[in-house]
C-alpha cells in the first residue's frame, strides 16, 4: 500500500469547535412554529388489562390541546405495532400494559408545563395480571407477557414463531459442534458455574427526543436516532405510505450507545402530528429514560471440560431478560449468543441462548450488544478454572486461544483477529511475570486480566455518495449518525485518502433521508467497516470518474490537472458535479440448524483488560489502581479518536461493573434518577488508565480498519472480579461488584455471614 497521508492521522474532530462553542445542532434544542409538546402518561403497574382510561379532567385543563389514547392513534395507524424483530410494541398501550412506565396516553399542549400538569390528571384503572420479572423464571412462568408472538418477518429465521402462544421465549438459538457429552466424560476436570448481570441503561446526556412535522407532501421526523433509514421504512410501513413520503432528519446526537435505535418516540410523534396536523415534540426527562430501554440482564450457566490443560468442551446456557418488548433482543440472543464460548479453540461446543419476555422495561442493544454479559461469565469461569488447576491465568488462556485459520464455534474460520496479540500486550503492560505487591493489614491488593471477542452483525448494508463540486470541494452524503464516536471525521479521512485532499476539507452532510442514502444503522461498531467501505468505494468511483473526465478532455494520463480546471474545461465556467457512489454488503451465510456457517461475520472485534486493585477488607470497597485496555481495531484510521473510544467504552463498562444497577420493586424502578443511579464521575475512574490498539490490519476493512466503539467494554467486568479473588480470595458471580457484595462474600468466606 502506498504511504497513507490522511488515514492514520489524528485529525481533530470536524465538529469539535461547533460542539464546544455550543453551536452544534440537536433535536433537543429544536422548535418549530405552532409546535405542541407531548407529555406521556405511563402505566403504574407491571402487567394488567386497562379497564378504564379517564382523560376528562386532563382534557378540561386550560391550555390542553388534546389528550390522545390508542383509540385516536388507530384513526391514523390502523395496525399500530412496531419493532425490528417482532411487531409487538404498540404506539400507545392497547388493551393491556406490559411494564411499569409503558406509555398509555399523551397530553398535548403549547406549554410543556401544562402538558405535564395535565398528564397527572389522566386516570387509569387496571385489572392486574400476574407478572414475571426474572429471565430464568420466565422460561417456565405461568405469567405470560404476550398472548401471541408477532415476528416482524424482517428476519427470515423468526418466521416459524408467528402465532406461537403460551410462551415467553421470543427466540431460542441453538448451536451444536462436536460431541460435548463424550468430551465431558473423558475430561480430567469438569467445571460448572452460573453468572448473572443486572439491568442497567444507556443514559445519554441528551435523553430520547423526537419531533413529528406534517408537511404538504407527507411527514418529516426530526429525531435523535441512530437509525434514520430504519425509522423511515418502519414509519412508512405503519402508515402504508411509500418511503419517499417520510423524511427523517438527524442532526448530532448527545450520545446514543445503542438506545436510540429502531423506533423509540418516532412512531408516536408521527401519529400525533398526523392527528393534530401540527408539529409535535416529545422530549423525555432523564427519569423517563429508565422506562424506555435497558441493557439485558442475563443469567449464564457455563460448563467446561479440561483435559491436559486444554478446554475440550464447553456447554453454554444463556437467558436474556428482554423486558416487555423484544426490540432487538432476538438478534442479541443469536448474534452474540454464538460467541458465548469465548475466544477459545474448543472442539466440542453446545450453546442454548434464550430471549425472554418479562414485565420490565424493554431491553435492547447497549455498547457491546450482549457481549459484555457473555465475557463477564466466560472470563470469570476461565479464571476460576485456572485457579482451581493452579495454572497461571495468562498461560492457561494462551494455551487455549483461537488463532487465525482455526474454526470458531460456528465453524467460521478465524481471520484478522489479533487475539493472542491483545492478550500479550495486556500481560506486558501489567508486567504480569514481575513481582507484585500484595498489600497489608486491612488493604489487600490483587490483579486480574480478561479477554473477549465479538462478531459483527451481518449481513447489513451501507450506501454512500461522494459529491465533487466544480471547485474541487468534496461533500459526503451518508446516513451514519455521528453520536459522538467521530464517524464524520473518520469518513472524511477515508475520502481524503482516496482523493488526495486534506480530511479537514471534506464536508459531511448529516442523515436526512430525502438526501442521504440508505444505511442499516449506526450500531454494533459496524459503521467504520461497512460505511467506511461504502465511502471508500464512492470516493474511488468519483476518482475514476474524474480520471475519465480528464481523458475525455484529452489530457494525458497522470497530468494531474487541478479538479477545478477539469470542470472549467468541461463546462466553460464553474459548474457541474462528479457523483461517486458506493454500496457495501459483506458476504454472509445463515447458520444451519446446528448453528454452523462458514461465514458468520465480516470481521471480529477483540478486547482485553488488565486491572490492579486494592480491597478494603473491613468495608469491601474496591479501589481500582490501574486499568489497561487493549483492543484490535485493525489499522486505526484516527489514533486519537480510537484511544478515546477505547477509554470511553471501558469507563462505561466500569460503571456497569462497579456502580450501576436499576433497582425494582414489583417492576417499578425505585432509583430512576441520576441522584440514585450513579454513573461514573471523574473520581471513579482509575488515575492510571492505559489504552492501546495493537498493531493489526483488517484485510477486508477500509484501509485495514474496523470498528472500535464497543471493544473496550468486553473484558473490564471479569478482569475486576478476577482481581478481587486474587486480592482477598472471594469470587463474585453477579454484577455489580458493590462494596457490600464484596464485604458479604468476605464474611461468608469467614463462616460468619452478615445477616440480610
Amino acid at each position: 500500500m502506498a504511504t497513507l497521508t490522511q488515514v492514520g492521522r489524528s485529525v481533530p474532530r470536524l465538529e469539535g469547535q461547533a460542539k464546544v462553542t455550543g453551536r452544534a445542532e440537536y433535536v433537543h434544542n429544536q422548535r418549530l412554529p405552532g409546535m405542541l409538546y407531548g407529555k406521556i402518561v405511563r402505566s403504574t403497574i407491571a402487567h394488567g388489562r386497562i379497564v378504564k382510561l379517564d382523560v376528562g379532567a386532563a382534557q378540561a385543563l386550560e391550555g390542553v390541546h388534546r389528550v390522545v389514547t390508542i383509540d385516536d392513534v388507530l384513526k391514523v395507524v390502523p395496525n399500530p405495532f412496531y419493532g425490528p424483530a417482532f411487531h409487538d410494541q404498540p404506539i400507545l398501550a392497547s388493551g393491556k400494559v406490559h411494564y411499569v412506565g409503558e406509555p398509555v396516553a399523551v397530553v398535548l399542549a403549547r406549554d410543556p408545563h401544562v402538558a405535564e400538569a395535565a398528564a397527572q390528571l389522566v386516570e387509569a384503572e387496571y385489572e392486574e395480571l400476574p407478572a414475571v420479572f426474572d429471565e430464568v423464571e420466565a422460561m417456565t412462568s405461568k405469567a405470560i407477557v404476550h398472548d401471541e408472538l408477532k415476528p416482524a418477518g424482517t428476519f427470515p429465521d423468526l418466521k416459524h414463531l408467528k402465532g406461537k402462544r403460551d410462551t415467553n421465549v421470543a427466540l431460542d438459538f441453538h448451536l451444536r459442534r462436536g460431541d460435548v457429552a463424550a468430551a465431558m466424560s473423558e475430561a480430567d476436570h469438569v467445571f460448572e458455574h452460573t453468572f448473572r448481570t443486572q439491568q442497567v441503561l444507556h443514559l445519554p446526556l441528551e435523553p430520547y427526543v423526537s419531533i413529528g412535522e406534517p408537511t404538504d407532501t407527507g411527514l418529516t421526523i426530526h429525531t435523535a436516532s441512530q437509525s434514520p433509514s430504519f425509522v423511515r421504512i418502519e414509519i412508512a410501513r405503519l402508515l402504508g405510505w411509500p418511503e419517499n413520503k417520510v423524511r427523517v432528519k438527524v442532526p448530532y446526537l448527545g450520545g446514543g450507545f445503542g438506545g436510540k435505535l429502531y423506533i423509540k418516540l418516532e412512531a408516536l410523534v408521527a401519529a400525533l402530528a398526523l392527528l393534530v396536523r401540527r408539529p409535535v415534540k416529545i422530549s423525555l426527562t432523564m427519569e423517563e429514560q429508565f422506562y424506555t430501554l435497558t441493557k439485558h440482564a442475563s443469567t449464564f450457566r457455563i460448563k467446561s471440560a479440561i483435559k491436559d490443560g486444554r478446554i475440550t468442551a464447553r456447554e453454554c446456557e444463556v437467558w436474556w431478560n428482554g423486558g416487555a418488548y423484544a426490540d432487538i433482543g432476538p438478534r442479541i440472543t443469536q448474534k452474540s449468543g454464538f460467541t458465548a464460548p469465548g475466544p477459545y479453540d474448543i472442539d466440542n461446543v453446545s450453546i442454548d441462548s434464550y430471549s425472554l419476555y418479562t414485565n420490565l422495561t424493554p431491553a435492547g442493544a447497549l455498547r457491546g450488544f450482549g457481549v459484555p454479559q457473555l465475557v463477564w461469565a466466560y472470563e470469570s469461569h476461565t479464571d476460576m478454572m485456572a485457579r482451581a488447576l493452579k495454572l497461571d491465568p495468562v498461560e492457561f488462556r494462551r494455551k487455549n486461544l483461537l488463532s487465525d485459520g482455526r474454526p470458531q464455534a460456528t465453524g467460521t474460520l478465524m481471520k484478522d483477529a489479533a487475539i493472542a496479540a491483545v492478550l500479550d500486550r495486556v500481560a506486558l503492560r501489567m508486567n504480569w511475570n514481575g513481582p507484585f505487591e500484595r498489600g497489608s493489614g486491612t488493604v489487600k491488593r490483587g490483579r486480574g486480566i480478561a479477554i473477549g471477542f465479538k462478531a459483527s452483525i451481518s449481513p447489513t448494508t451501507s450506501i454512500a455518495i461522494v459529491n465533487v463540486s466544480a471547485d474541487g470541494s468534496v461533500t459526503l452524503y451518508c446516513s451514519t449518525v455521528d453520536m459522538g464516536q467521530g464517524s464524520d471525521t473518520a469518513n472524511a479521512q477515508i475520502i481524503a485518502e482516496v482523493l488526495n485532499i486534506p480530511a479537514e476539507r471534506v464536508k459531511v452532510v448529516h442523515p436526512d433521508t430525502d438526501v442521504t442514502p440508505y444505511d442499516m444503522a449506526t450500531l454494533g461498531s459496524r459503521s467504520l467497516y461497512h460505511m467506511g467501505n461504502a465511502v471508500r468505494l464512492a470516493a474511488e468511483d468519483a476518482r475514476d470518474k474524474l480520471a475519465a473526465l480528464a481523458r475525455e478532455l484529452g489530457l494525458p494520463e497522470g497530468s494531474n490537472v487541478p479538479v477545478a480546471e477539469l470542470f472549467q474545461k468541461k463546462y466553460k465556467m464553474q459548474a457541474g458535479n462528479i457523483i461517486g457512489t458506493g454500496s457495501y454488503i459483506p458476504s454472509y451465510v445463515p447458520p444451519d440448524a446446528s448453528g454452523q456457517t462458514p461465514e458468520a461475520t465480516p470481521f471480529w472485534m477483540v478486547g482485553g483488560a488488565g486491572v490492579e486493585i486494592e480491597v478494603d477488607t473491613e468495608t469491601g470497597h474496591v479501589h481500582i489502581l490501574k486499568l489497561i485496555n487493549v483492543v484490535d481495531v485493525g489499522r486505526p484510521i484516527n489514533p486519537r479518536i480510537v484511544e478515546t473510544q477505547i477509554s470511553g467504552a471501558a469507563v462505561m463498562q466500569l460503571g456497569f461493573t462497579m456502580q450501576e444497577k436499576m433497582e425494582f420493586d414489583a417492576g417499578q424502578v425505585t432509583n430512576a434518577s441520576l441522584a440514585d443511579y450513579k454513573i461514573p464521575s471523574i473520581l471513579d475512574i482509575p488515575t492510571d488508565m492505559q489504552n492501546e490498539a495493537v498493531e493489526a490490519e483488517q484485510g477486508s476493512g477500509p484501509f485495514g480498519g474496523k470498528g472500535v466503539g464497543e471493544s473496550g467494554t468486553f473484558a473490564v467486568s471479569p478482569a475486576i472480579a478476577n482481581a478481587i479473588e486474587d486480592a482477598v480470595g472471594v469470587r463474585l458471580t453477579a454484577l455489580p461488584l458493590s462494596a457490600e457484595a464484596v464485604y458479604r462474600a468476605l464474611r461468608e468466606a469467614q463462616g460468619a455471614p452478615l445477616e440480610e
Binding site: H113, A117, T619, A675, D684, A739, E740, E756
Partner: protein, 288 residues
C-alpha cells in the same frame, strides 16, 4: 412547574410575617439547592416561596465574648470554607467543605438551609452536633436557642415551626477538643453518603476526657451515640479503644436499609468508620 408566588423581603420581620404556620405550601428558600430539586421532581409544589437572600443581617461571621463563633444563617458554605476565622475556630468545618457536594452547590447553599432542610444525608448537621453547636431561631413568638442535637425531629423534619427561621449558628469555643468528619459512599466516590461520622474528642494525649460521637445518613436523623461516648470517657487513647468505641457504636446505631446498603452492612460501616474517625481526630501530625 406550576406558577407560585416568590416574595423577597428585606427584613427578618417581614420574612417571618410572610410565612404561614399552617400552610405547608409556603416555605422559606435560602440557597435553594435542595428545595429546587424537590420542586423539579414534583415532590414539593409551592404556593409561596419566601426568599431570604435580601434579608439583612444574616451573613456575618463574628467571634463572641465567650469565645464562641456566631455564623449568620445565610452564609454560603463556600464562604465558610474560605474563612480564616472558621478555620482557626473549627478546622473540621473547613476540611468537611472539601468533600461536601461540589463547589457549585457550596457557592449557593447556606449553613442555615443545610440545617433547616433536615436531610439526614447532609454533612454539616453531624459536624455541628459534634462541635456542640446551637442555632438561634426567630418567630413571631420571639427568639430561642436550640441545640443542633435536638433540632431534628425526624426524616426531613425539624422542631421549628413553619414560621420560624434559623438566623444564626453558634459554635462554642472548642478548647483542646479535636474533631474529625468522615463520610462513606457506596455507589460512587461522589454520592450522598451512606454514612457520615463526626467525632470531637478531648484528651490529654493519653486519656480521653470527653468525646462526642455522631452518625448521620445511615440513621433516620443525625444521632449522638451515647454508648460509644461512654466507652471512650476516661479510657486510654489508642487503636484498641477506637475499635471498642466502634463496636459500641455499631451495637447502638439504628441503621436503615436503602439503595446505598442494607442496615446490617451500614452497621459494619459504623463500626469501622467510628474507629477511623477517632483515629483521624487524634492524629498527632496536626493534620486535624
Amino acid at each position: 412547574m406550576t406558577p407560585f408566588e416568590l416574595a423577597e423581603p428585606a427584613t427578618l420581620k417581614e420574612a417571618i410575617a410572610l410565612l404561614d404556620p399552617d400552610d405547608p405550601t409556603v416555605r422559606p428558600i435560602a440557597g435553594g439547592t435542595a428545595l429546587m430539586l424537590m420542586m423539579k421532581a414534583g415532590v414539593f409544589r409551592p404556593g409561596r416561596l419566601v426568599s431570604l437572600r435580601n434579608v439583612k443581617g444574616l451573613t456575618a461571621i463574628e467571634p463572641m465574648p465567650d469565645g464562641a463563633l456566631r455564623i449568620g444563617a445565610m452564609m454560603p458554605l463556600a464562604a465558610l470554607e474560605r474563612s480564616a476565622t472558621v478555620r482557626a475556630h473549627a478546622p473540621v468545618i473547613t476540611r468537611t467543605m472539601r468533600t461536601l457536594s461540589n463547589i457549585r452547590v457550596r457557592n449557593v447553599a447556606t449553613i442555615g438551609g443545610s440545617l433547616a432542610h433536615a436531610d439526614p444525608h447532609m454533612d454539616m448537621p453531624p459536624v455541628l452536633i459534634a462541635l456542640g453547636a446551637q442555632v438561634v431561631a426567630a418567630s413571631p413568638a420571639g427568639e430561642r436557642t436550640i441545640a443542633v442535637e435536638t433540632l431534628f425531629a425526624g426524616y426531613y423534619e425539624t422542631v421549628l415551626a413553619r414560621n420560624e427561621l434559623i438566623t444564626s449558628v453558634i459554635i462554642p469555643a472548642q478548647g483542646a477538643r479535636r474533631a474529625a468528619y468522615l463520610k462513606c459512599t457506596t455507589r460512587a466516590v461522589h454520592d450522598w453518603p451512606a454514612l457520615g461520622v463526626a467525632v470531637a474528642v478531648e484528651s490529654d494525649g493519653t486519656t480521653v476526657r470527653d468525646a462526642r460521637v455522631v452518625v448521620s445518613a445511615a440513621t433516620e436523623t443525625p444521632t449522638r451515640l451515647d454508648g460509644a461516648e461512654q466507652a471512650l470517657r476516661g479510657e486510654t487513647a489508642g487503636d484498641a479503644l477506637w475499635r471498642q468505641a466502634g463496636e459500641a457504636a455499631a451495637a447502638e446505631a439504628e441503621t436503615i436499609s436503602d439503595g446505598q446498603g442494607s442496615a446490617a452492612y451500614k452497621r459494619q460501616l459504623v463500626r469501622v468508620y467510628v474507629a477511623r474517625a477517632l483515629a483521624a481526630a487524634l492524629k498527632p501530625d496536626g493534620a486535624n
